[in-house]
């Protein structure tokens, strides 16, 4: 079985540190009104951005599980 350094540590680091960048970006574009939640089109984009983050996170988690247990 590969070590923690090879499996979940990179995953935690990727979505922990990367997540901080992502969160920072979401806060800045919201505060700067780059994304204007009064517009229907922008509300759609907000959801797409959140979806994208979890989409990649779940994909990586599944790939690790498949590699380890399948």
């Amino acid at each position: 079985m590969p070590s923690f350094f090879n499996t979940w540590l990179p995953f935690i680091y990727l979505y922990g540190v990367g997540g901080l960048f992502f969160l920072g970006g979401m806060i800045i574009i919201r505060k700067a009104k780059g994304i204007d939640m009064r517009l229907k089109r922008h509300r759609f984009w907000w959801k797409v951005l959140i979806f994208g983050f979890f989409y990649f996170m779940i994909m990586h988690a599944l790939l690790i599980i498949v590699a380890l247990y399948w």
Binding site: P10, G18, G25, M26, I28, K33, G34, D36, L49, G52
Partner: protein, 698 residues
Amino acid sequence: MEQLHNIGTQTDWVVMIIYLVAMLLFGSYFGKYNHDTNDFFFGGRRFSWWLIAISIVATGISSHSFVKYSAMGFTHGFSSSMAYMNDWFFVPFFLFGWLPIVVYSKIRSIPEYFEKRFSPSARFFVTILQLLYLVGYVGIGFLTMGKAILPLMPEHFTLFGFELRVTLMGLIIVIAVITGAYITFGGQTAVIFTDLVQGLMLLFAGLLVFILGIDYVGGWHVFWNLLPTDWKLPLAHFNNPPDFNFVGIFWQDGVAGSIGFLFMNMGLLMRFMAAKSVDEGRKAATFNILFMLPISAIVVSSGGWIGKAMSLMPNSPIPANTQPDNIFVVVSNIVAEPGMFGFIIASLAAALMSTISTLLNATAAIWVNDVDRPLRIWLGKIKRDEKQDEKKAMLVARVSTVSFTMLGVLAVIPFGSYPTVYEAHGFFHSTLTPPLVIAIFLGVFWKKFTPAGVIATVVGGTSLMVLGAYHPGLLISPFAHGTPMTQVHPYTYISALYNTLVCLTVGVIVTLFQNQLRKLVHQIKKNSNHSWMIAAMNGASVIIIGLVLLNFGSLQFLLVSTLVMTFFVALSSAYYIKYDPVAQTEGLTAWSIHKAQQMFKGRKLNEREGEKVRLIWKLKEENDGTANFSKKDMERLAAHEGDLVYISDARKYLGGLKSVHTIFGKPHNEEGIVYITKDHLRNGLFVEGRPMEAEKEM
């Protein structure tokens, strides 16, 4: 290790030549859409998102390349896909920060943004870095292409009685001549349309190798069970080995590379700028990152994965002298029939060609807009507000494309010394992107960021980076996360973290002490010899930069000297540059995008959401730059006179090729009819009797 030669058959060569000639003809057909430099560089800002999204595939895939990811897939496993699945973190910054600013501020290059946001001197420094970045990228592209094609070539051949040895550099020169010719006459529209075809071909070819490879090794279960568990993990080991580890690649590719690719790759930005609107650009970027990049990850790495499985089979068909950078070509040759192999290699070569073409097009754009024009203004040959002579500008664009093609060939020499293309690219991203990435990022998202901050970031940050490269054991190791350092791999990837941090620190500190700097400048100006004092500081700065570049003196001495030099540079910038923090941030930072939209339109925004309308066009006599719609159609479009409108041929598959942007003129009463000018007809290449579609832009 010995170089492989003579892979493939005559049939493969015939297929390859036919494919490449067909692509050249296809690209040159679109040369007719270049009326001016706007068309040549930006394709007239007219295309639909799907066309941009698919055309980016060829650019994205080949810039990261089949060669280098298959090499990493072969040696390290599925984690070679990491770089294709770590780009999302900076997407919010890009979609709702940088992209709208780039489009609405109507800049034609990144350095131009720096002049508007900061000063002409900031533009000068950024132009140098941008040109180095793009030429380096072109060099990596040529190197990759040469390495991909070299195994197919004989060791030598005879021409007119002379025996010629086939070398990597010789092959690269031939490739450069073909690529240079292709972009010089085609322009952005040619690049977009050939990339559309090549993107699809590339995906097909890569998936074909994967499927044929799985079949060759005996099916999916055999393939899966042949591979060791740690080899199947999607992320590399956290900090080992030095030539491929997670944490280094996260900072080099996931942070510096992703921001670099999205924010400062002018070739990619120009592709988004060719989209008909900001929203279409957003769709193209999102679709590409969410769906095309994961597929691309499989496509580019599959040769290496199959190669690894083959190498673990009894009686492995992989030759013992196969270099990792050749694995894709070797595996394709094993699994594909003659002719099919030719097609796979041709699609790879053509896509690499399109990446290089995109970058050369971008380099020419920077040369025309940021070097040639400012130089002509400085020499007094044209006035600042004078419109450029399009014929002359096009000639300069073409000559500069040829020149940068040659410089790209020369750039291959330093990159050729790296064990793999992946490491050459990793080092390139780690060292060239951080100063520009930080300069752009702080410029866009931090209103307080000043010209002194940006120039100190570029000059001081780069000097600290050079010191880090000379003394990695002392300066980079505190940031290394336990990554081992070797002579061959002196923190190749994790140096990106150190480089990014020093540039960020310099930029932030100089900006935070802006008031103190200004007070100091005020004091200096009271002295009658103030201009001499600043000149002396500049002279000392140049000497210190020279010492740092030559690594002359102890580390402590050079570190202190660099900090002093950074202070001098910041002070000198504050002394010389006149900066208006209100005017020079309005519409140019993420905090004033609404203002940027208004400036783009030239009047108040109309944000009512309307519907698309189908129409038939008629020509009008007056050339007033407007299109006239009926009152009813304008109601459906939710438009007023003076709003911006996009009119295109209604055939969706054209992706906006036949279209124009214009302004709503005075309405009439003929429903379903739009009156357009001769200029609209010429630029939009509309066909008589064909229905059109109109939508309000803003």
